[in-house]
Point group: none
């Protein structure tokens, strides 16, 4: 028997799957791998297909029988549960390190919840509504380690609505890009500690032209906050060398999700056209 995981096999088929087969795959991956350990009838009911389809599905995966398939899943599960066990045996000195990832991610998760607690719901909602008004031009920019966030937000907002402009970080070129800014236009700026002086300059110009600045920053507030109409502070502390930008991305994704909802009438056409299915 091959060593590839069932999940990997499913992916190999991917295109080759029929409609019902795909539902079976989704069902299994959605509740992986437990659903596969249930009897066929239960698997079928949960996936919304007939028992026969499940059997054909596992046959397509390359298993000679359903029990065979279940055996593979159990072995896989066993492998998985053994790997974290090896850490104790093979590397006794790394006892503290074993939990590194879990501790780090748990801490990150906590910053998300703290962030939620520190941002007024009304402020968030207002920002999203502003961003959903297609008549306003929308400018995006970030600092050294946050520019990628502006890029990410840009990529998604472009799919949702027209009028998105990304601002280059360099002040010389940004001046050119700002000549068209009109009062009431909206600008989303990302800026975290070791705040970017160039971005502050950009913010000043935007404020002078009466653009509405949405500032996404850390808990210590970028100096841009003085010019910002809306300010969304995120938690970034990690107690390590680097601060974390996870909360900023999560906030950006929340904005994307909300704006997509609010602009759905406009967005659905655009997304369909660009995604192509």
């Amino acid at each position: 028997m091959e060593r590839r995981t069932v999940a990997a096999r499913i992916h190999d088929l991917d295109q080759a799957l029929t409609a019902a087969g795909r539902r079976a795959a989704r069902g299994l991956l959605g509740n992986y791998p437990l659903l596969g350990l249930a009897p066929v009838a239960e698997f079928a009911a949960a996936a919304g297909v007939s028992a026969a389809t499940i059997v054909r599905f596992v046959a397509q995966l390359g298993f000679r029988s359903y029990p065979d398939f279940q055996r593979a899943l159990r072995e896989e599960l066993e492998e998985r549960s053994k790997s974290p066990l090896q850490r104790g045996a093979s590397a006794p000195e790394t006892e503290g390190d074993a939990a590194f990832l879990a501790a780090f991610l748990m801490r990150s998760a906590r910053t998300l919840n703290e962030t939620a607690a520190h941002i007024p719901a009304g402020e968030f909602e207002t920002v999203c509504r502003r961003l959903s008004e297609p008549k306003r031009q929308c400018y995006l920019a970030g600092g050294r380690f946050t520019d990628f966030l502006a890029g990410y937000l840009e990529a998604h907002l472009r799919l949702v609505r027209p009028g998105i402009r990304r601002l280059d970080g360099r002040p010389a070129t940004s001046a050119d890009q700002l000549i068209d800014v009109r009062p009431g236009d909206i600008a989303v700026l990302f800026d975290v500690r070791r705040y970017d002086p160039a971005l502050l300059e950009t913010a000043r110009t935007l404020a002078r032209r009466k653009a509405h600045i949405v500032l996404i920053t850390d808990a210590w507030l970028s100096p841009i906050s003085r010019h910002a109409r809306y300010c969304l502070p995120c938690r970034t502390e990690t107690g390590r060398t680097w601060d974390a930008n996870t909360a900023l991305l999560a906030l950006a994704e929340a904005i994307i999700a909300r704006v997509t909802e609010l602009s759905w009438e406009t967005a659905k056409g655009r997304i369909g056209a660009l995604e192509g299915d």
Copy 2:
């Protein structure tokens, strides 16, 4: 049916068990709970008793039948995989607009915890150690919506160690970039659903040149997983139009933090020199 775990039930019986029954219990606890999901015959063979003993054993545990017992085990396993996220799930899920942000961020936090539960600690640690060996070249690349993650990781790793190369997404140029790849070099690839065909091609080339591929993907596993030596799946489900990449960023930051620790002797000088204070 009671809600107590099977393991707890076994513990309760403990003294009341017969000799053969105890062997069954030991067998199950030694490979918990997977052995219980196997057919009776297999369970019996592994525990060194007869099938009949196994059936009596599960009856003693309070189950009406062996399938009943298996169902309980599956439900237990399902609970366990969900448990790390229930901690923060106390807020009223008012899907109204007021709580949108809080609900969204809480959900994101949950994906982080689920991600932590699904990535073997050993795998993460191994990847970080590989990344901390400065002799290996390190290549980075991402797909359409994840390229920014590669960029983010690149920006930080550059500060920590030499030999970081970012791969351009376009296959034409990437071929040129890959001619220097040597066996043992390491490549970190980000790929989430609507997997990038160009990136898959890049991965193939990397694999052909015996580079070690670290794949950071979603729960459905990019096709690149077939070529990856290490695979770190993240949760991305939001139940909305867009999947969330927050967990991928958090994982990237965890890698950055860990590699910085492991390479501290090298890193401290570089960071000081480049940050300039």
